[in-house]
Symmetry: C2
Subunit: 409 residues, 2 copies
Amino acid sequence: MPVNLEAPARDALLPVAGVAIGTAQAGIRKANRRDVLVLRLPEGAAAAGVFTTNRFCAAPVRVCREHLAAGAGSVRALVVNTGCANAGTGTQGIANARRSCEEVARLLGCTPEQVLPFSTGVILEHLPMERLLPGIGAAVDGLGASDWLDAAEAIMTTDTLPKGASRALDVGGRRVVVTGIAKGSGMIRPNMATMLGYIATDAALPQALLARWVREVADLSFNRVTVDGDTSTNDSFVLLASGASGVAIADDAAPGAAPLKAAIVAIAQQLAQALARDGEGATKFITIEVERAASGAEAAAVAYAIAHSPLVKTAFFASDPNLGRILAAIGYAGIADLDVDRIDLYLDDVHVATRGGRHPDYREEDGQRVMKQSEIRIRVVLDRGAATTTVWTCDLSHDYVSINADYRS
Amino acid sequence: MPVNLEAPARDALLPVAGVAIGTAQAGIRKANRRDVLVLRLPEGAAAAGVFTTNRFCAAPVRVCREHLAAGAGSVRALVVNTGCANAGTGTQGIANARRSCEEVARLLGCTPEQVLPFSTGVILEHLPMERLLPGIGAAVDGLGASDWLDAAEAIMTTDTLPKGASRALDVGGRRVVVTGIAKGSGMIRPNMATMLGYIATDAALPQALLARWVREVADLSFNRVTVDGDTSTNDSFVLLASGASGVAIADDAAPGAAPLKAAIVAIAQQLAQALARDGEGATKFITIEVERAASGAEAAAVAYAIAHSPLVKTAFFASDPNLGRILAAIGYAGIADLDVDRIDLYLDDVHVATRGGRHPDYREEDGQRVMKQSEIRIRVVLDRGAATTTVWTCDLSHDYVSINADYRS
């Protein structure tokens, strides 16, 4: 059960001028579900991406990076499959990823280097090319109206809902659209289901600007969400600019640059939070704010220690204000000179601990009241400096174990 | 259900000359269970300990360290309570830990600095001194025959079985006994239930030697076990030497030093493995061996990444050979220059992956066969150097979630 999350309405995901979408049921792993997406871009479109930090990155991630470097962001299509991650598949995996790009290029009349491949699903298995290639053909045949809800559905694995968001804005009297979709449950620390995210705009942006924005946007959104601390082999987030609106954004100072970037960040944050809201087995959506840290890295270390603690996560699942577990997680976050006697802890508006110990006014029933909510904010004040961070996560439930124990069955 | 683990027989835990044991039911948290242990040592006994690295260490850990430093290891008693960790309790927590030591010292006729306090249980709550002090009195009244099974039972929290081990050896025609007990599920990365371990011998050892041995022994045993990656505020491991056998071990070169140390290591390893075998909700006991790493730290990083991955642990619970999850965990272990194309992976005798990809002879049914076993060995060969490590852990089951969701109820 996702936490306060619904599938977007079909007409809420605005078409992005210049972007065509096609999906197919190729039967990669399971029958009767969309499992192939082809996204076509017009000539002159730009793309930039950020990818998993996992050293065991999947074949499509390697090929994606190659193609982005070779084509300097001149991308004409994306091809995505679910059901098989094409990871841990050696040279044959690389060949299969290239073959998928060649097939798209042949059908669309571009070069294979202008196609970016993505896969998500089980590791250590080869792509069933005899089913994937016809699936790519069917998706290309279906290219047309820019139906992003179809696209969002086609990339789902353990997601219970498709995830998408959209905004239109006015730039000097002209309309610019930003639409994004995502699947999975994390990015730097994602669920094996793999995080894939795509955000497209019909503004025109130079590739260098897009390449900087994609990193900055990821750092404010997908890099701030975690479900279980596992970093997938396939995580990818790509920013696309079709240019078809005729609105050109040359640099950060251009008219419209700031509101466009803000819209992209807002969509990326909404998608990132949706990943945690739909985290495997999630029953609670948890926002962790760490304040007054000595550095951003230190703030993140504390936030992730809390977010990844199985004991903290099971306590939230149980609505049990066993809040000492949060203090324990702060204590093992790896800050060697941490003075625990300076730490304050809040649960929403409830002041739980002050100067490292239980707050004299803290009452169990106040903690209990907040723990029962479906949305909970943990706030940690370290009193060491001025850095702050926010991380979104979910609880650890019986269903998490069930989903991941039965993932392949 | 612990994995291939039984409670030790009462007569299998050999009395250690000079050590007296008393336990009591103080009702610290629950009625009708032993929750206080007092362990008395003769004059001239030596003690040394290693403690949690958690910055939020509990009050008794702070006091323990102080007393060991003040008394240079001249320890006359240990006092242990379960039900309340006395952590996150500020100055009152420190005062309560000191008060417990004062009570023992008063009853036994020693100084408070010669008493070491230990607590385990819920964090952020104060010790119920009105019940603990009478409990200490009752435990002291019962001091007598060195019944280590009573002691092992008195320190249990979520443990399903008492854990103890014992050996006798011959040193120059004289008998030396080593007996140890432990509770909880880890040490450097333990379960909130907290790891406590005590090993006593009736040999005489100088405190400096004991202080070195306790670190070396921990590194070969309790520091190599993990259940869920949470590091408790209270973890403690103490080595005691009563000297009552009359056998003196002056240094590492002394006759009997090597076999005595080997016996202590063997007991510590047996206890450490027992912690993982009785890990919360454990259904599988998993040994992770990382070979040919560039350094010990690198080997440990890879082993712990595997041991802490919820996705790996749930796959083991499900007996599902979804072994790509192990490769993914290796990939995010933080080795920046890891060449995944040099990695081999074995599951017991089954060669799963070679040079970073699925082994051509690997068959799903072979992986399945091993995954169904209750004891499984994962072997990772990094091909980067000569360092090796071993870590013991367990799977992640529905019962883990149940136990930790309901811990305080």
